[in-house]
């Protein structure tokens, strides 16, 4: 790798790589190999494909490309075969031979690897036909499927770093900031502050040294778009940061990556080394007077470090505890110097805005929310994955048209957005447009983009307890209302889920929520009661049912349910008995089995293994549960 010394040389490098890509006559097998793909065996698939290519001496004809996540996690490991645009899902190493001999060499489609639509059942061999992708607008995520994230030349081949060359050649820092302001982009990390204005504050702040930070401490449980972007297209994030540093006048940058993301850390580090070697980072970038370099900071496992002032404390080598604002980081940030912090996805949008213009970007989305947003569509949903959609799309379109609806014919109950700071949105609000304003009016927030779908089996009191327990554990302890208040709320909620709730509990929860909201310094505390408040708003009856009737309609709260083998359905197959980890099931082959409720730990193993055709195991709650327990304890059963 030789250093690129000027903007002209960079332009030439980009054109050359684009030309090489266009002239490539090979069939390309693109394998999705982000963390999820690898967990499902995509690296073994790559190994098998490469082995067969070598054995058959097909190196000149077929090429395997190891890419980051394509977003369609449900179908992992998946392969896209180019130029035919054929999409194969759930590929196993043993499929490698036929993929090469049949499809890559002879254009024959392998039926069993084709995706079929979960709604219509229609087979869809081409990636472009798949309903999961149809309503998406993948301006940030889309390139993940085109490039090897560890090869900078691949990034050049998709016009990578062209925006940087445009900026350095023909824009002064103020022009860049005006473009970003005009685009209307708002922060993708949670708070949704206008990015351009933030840059302007940092630009105008007085200081000899200025810093920029990429917040890659993606802590919201259920959100992983930043991981995917860093793993799959790290240079786009770097390019955004370099442009930002130029606009703000920063000389040093940090990427704060959470330690739970080893592959993202690895790929970002590789990308940094490449950019440095080529002179895209360092002193006198591309022969200009602009000096800038980036450090990677590996987090140490703390949720609150995603809050900007905590994150800076962490980089300084201290406990990640937030502080009072003002002063805002733009005035006094890292080591007291003006600092600008943006989230990974925000940085990833910058090169696109420069490349395509602010008008183009502002044309996507709604009046108050511009561009696209990546959501992680997870939980009880058929097509799990990362979806990038224009702002303003409705929840219904995301969940049903893209996500394919709820699995196993279950009923949709709620969707949780915004992580521990967000809320649960019920069925009645499915036609809500997804933008900053509408979500906050519904009591939730956009947050970083987690979208967890819940069905009839999810208990909303349990979900509220889950989130409160999370924030309680992650509270840094600085503000008393957050530290002690969240603990009180968890205790009350736990009591309710155990069937020990009191009538006064709901009122107490509301009072505590109010105090915590007004008495906490940072976003963690201020928003921590939201999951309780939204579930109380939309699902109050579930709370009342738990308290008054000791009943959990979702059959999820362990202490409020019992498992029961229906005698008329049980065929005595022994499956449940064998699966029981505590030997709480009695019965001989071909005889009706019985659960010993005194021994049962309610793990649900029996429920899961009972064949669907038989489905002899039921769960009961409330009065029916009491009746069964009474009946079973009266009768004696032979062991």
């Amino acid at each position: 790798m030789t250093k690129i010394k000027s903007i002209i040389e960079l332009k030439e490098t980009i054109s050359q790589q684009i030309k090489l890509r266009n002239e490539n006559n090979k069939t390309v097998l693109t394998v999705s190999a982000g963390t999820c793909g690898r967990a499902r065996g995509s690296l073994k698939v790559i190994e098998s494909l490469e082995k067969i290519i070598k054995e058959k001496k097909l190196e000149g004809k077929i090429q395997v490309k190891n890419t980051g996540c394509h977003g369609f996690c449900e179908a992992e490991p998946n392969i896209i075969i180019q130029p035919q645009n054929i999409f194969y899902q759930h590929v196993q190493p043993k499929d490698a031979e036929s993929i090469i001999t049949e499809t890559a060499l002879n254009n024959k489609i392998i039926d069993k690897l084709i995706y079929s639509d979960p709604v219509t059942g229609q087979k869809m061999p081409k990636e472009s036909d798949i309903s999961f992708y149809a309503k998406q607008e993948r301006i940030v995520m889309g390139d993940n499927a085109l490039i090897d994230p560890t090869d900078i030349n691949d990034y050049f081949a998709i016009r990578g770093y062209n925006s940087l060359s445009t900026v350095l050649k023909s824009m002064n820092p103020e022009d860049v900031i005006e473009t970003i302001i005009a685009s209307g982009i708002r922060g993708r990390g949670g708070a949704g502050f206008p990015t351009g204005s933030k840059w302007k504050f940092a630009r105008n702040a007085k200081g000899d040294i200025k810093y920029i930070i990429c917040n890659a401490d993606e802590g919201d449980p259920g959100a992983y778009m930043d991981r995917s972007l860093m793993e799959g297209n790290p240079h786009r994030v770097l390019e955004g940061m370099i442009i930002g540093a130029y606009a703000i006048g920063a000389t040093e940058g940090y990427i704060y990556v959470r330690m739970e993301y080893p592959l993202a850390l690895k790929n970002i580090t590789i990308a940094l080394e490449q950019a440095r070697k080529l002179g895209l980072l360092g002193d006198a970038i591309l022969g200009s007077e602009f000096n800038f370099d980036i450090n990677v900071f590996k987090g140490a496992g703390s949720f609150v470090s995603g809050e900007e002032t905590s994150l800076m404390a962490s980089i300084e080598g201290r406990r990640a505890q937030p502080r009072q604002r003002p002063p805002f980081p733009a005035q006094s940030g890292l080591w007291g110097k003006p600092t600008n912090i943006n989230n990974v996805e925000t940085w990833g949008n910058i090169p696109i805005i420069i490349e395509k213009g602010s008008d183009w970007f502002a044309g996507i989305g709604t009046e108050s929310s511009k561009g696209t947003k990546i959501f992680s569509l997870v939980g009880k949903i058929k097509n799990t994955g990362l979806v990038e959609v224009p702002m303003g799309i409705t929840l219904r379109e995301i969940i049903y048209d893209i996500g394919g609806g709820i699995p196993d014919d279950k009923e949709f109950k709620a969707v949780q957005t915004g992580g521990p700071s967000g809320g649960c949105i019920p069925k009645e609000k499915l036609d809500l447009p997804v933008d900053y304003k509408s979500l906050s009016e519904a009591g939730s927030i956009m947050g970083s983009g987690g979208m967890i779908v819940m069905d009839e089996d999810t208990c909303m009191v349990d979900v509220a307890r889950y989130f409160l327990q999370f924030t309680q554990e992650e509270s840094c302890g600085k503000c008393v209302p957050c530290r002690i208040g969240t603990r009180q709320m968890v205790e009350i909620l736990s009591r309710i889920t155990k069937g020990e709730g009191k009538e006064s509990d709901i009122k107490k929860l509301e009072e505590l929520a109010k105090t915590i909201k007004s008495g906490s310094l940072c976003g963690l505390g201020q928003t921590s009661p939201n999951p309780v408040l939204t579930t109380l708003l939309y699902f109050r009856k579930e709370y009342e049912d738990h308290i008054n009737n000791k009943s959990c309609k979702a059959l999820a709260c362990k202490d409020l349910i019992c498992y029961y083998i229906e005698p008329e359905k049980c065929i005595g197959c022994l499956l449940c008995k064998k699966s029981c980890p505590v030997d709480a099931i009695w019965g001989k082959r071909k005889e009706v089995h019985v659960i010993d409720h005194k021994l049962c730990i309610k793990c649900g193993a029996c429920f899961d293994v009972c064949p669907p055709k038989v489905s002899a195991i039921s769960k009961y709650t409330g009065k029916k549960k009491e009746k069964i327990l009474k009946k079973d304890s009266a009768g004696k059963v032979d062991k």
Binding site: T35, C36, A39, P221, Y261, G301, G317, S376, V463, A605
Partner: protein, 153 residues
């Protein structure tokens, strides 16, 4: 220890990097390392303890040969992650956050691994197990117990 410290500068900003390095090298932060770090970075031992106990990455006690991490993210939660954790606790006879007596396994939870599509997720050392269920728990542990047996043979 001195060799490790020589890789780093002498200011507080190095502290978390140093702790990561020591944790990786020894599997925990030995008490005697704290005073050496304190001298090298010119900050008090109490400051170091404050930082290292704040972050979940660092431990003051040695960990087991294998670390079992069960994801407690929201997506894993709604798909049964807590049940999987309970089964690990039951089989290993320890609560999350602890190490088995034979020092084979440390059981931990993590807020979210960001692999929500394949939850519940269990990671043993660097090995990701997708869609874990209670019945898979034994299988997962068996694999590592066998290794122990083979080592002894």
């Amino acid at each position: 220890m001195q060799k490790i410290l020589a890789e780093f500068g002498n200011s507080q900003k190095e502290l978390i990097h140093v702790l990561h390095r020591v944790q990786a090298k020894f599997g925990y932060i030995p008490p005697e390392a704290i005073s050496e770090i304190s001298r090298h970075l010119k900050i008090t031992e109490s400051e170091i303890c404050g930082v290292l106990t704040f972050y979940s990455a660092f431990s003051l006690e040695p960990r087991g040969k294998h670390t079992v991490t069960v994801c407690m993210g929201t997506a894993c939660h709604v798909r049964g992650g807590p049940k999987v954790l309970e089964e690990f606790e039951r089989r290993l006879e320890i609560e999350a956050g602890n190490t088995t007596q034979d020092k084979q396994f440390t059981l931990e939870t993590v807020a979210c691994l960001g692999c929500c599509a394949i939850g519940p997720v269990v990671v043993v050392d660097d090995d990701y197990n997708a869609q874990a269920t209670i019945s898979k728990v034994e299988q997962i542990l068996e694999k590592y117990k066998k290794e122990k047996k083979n080592d002894q043979d």
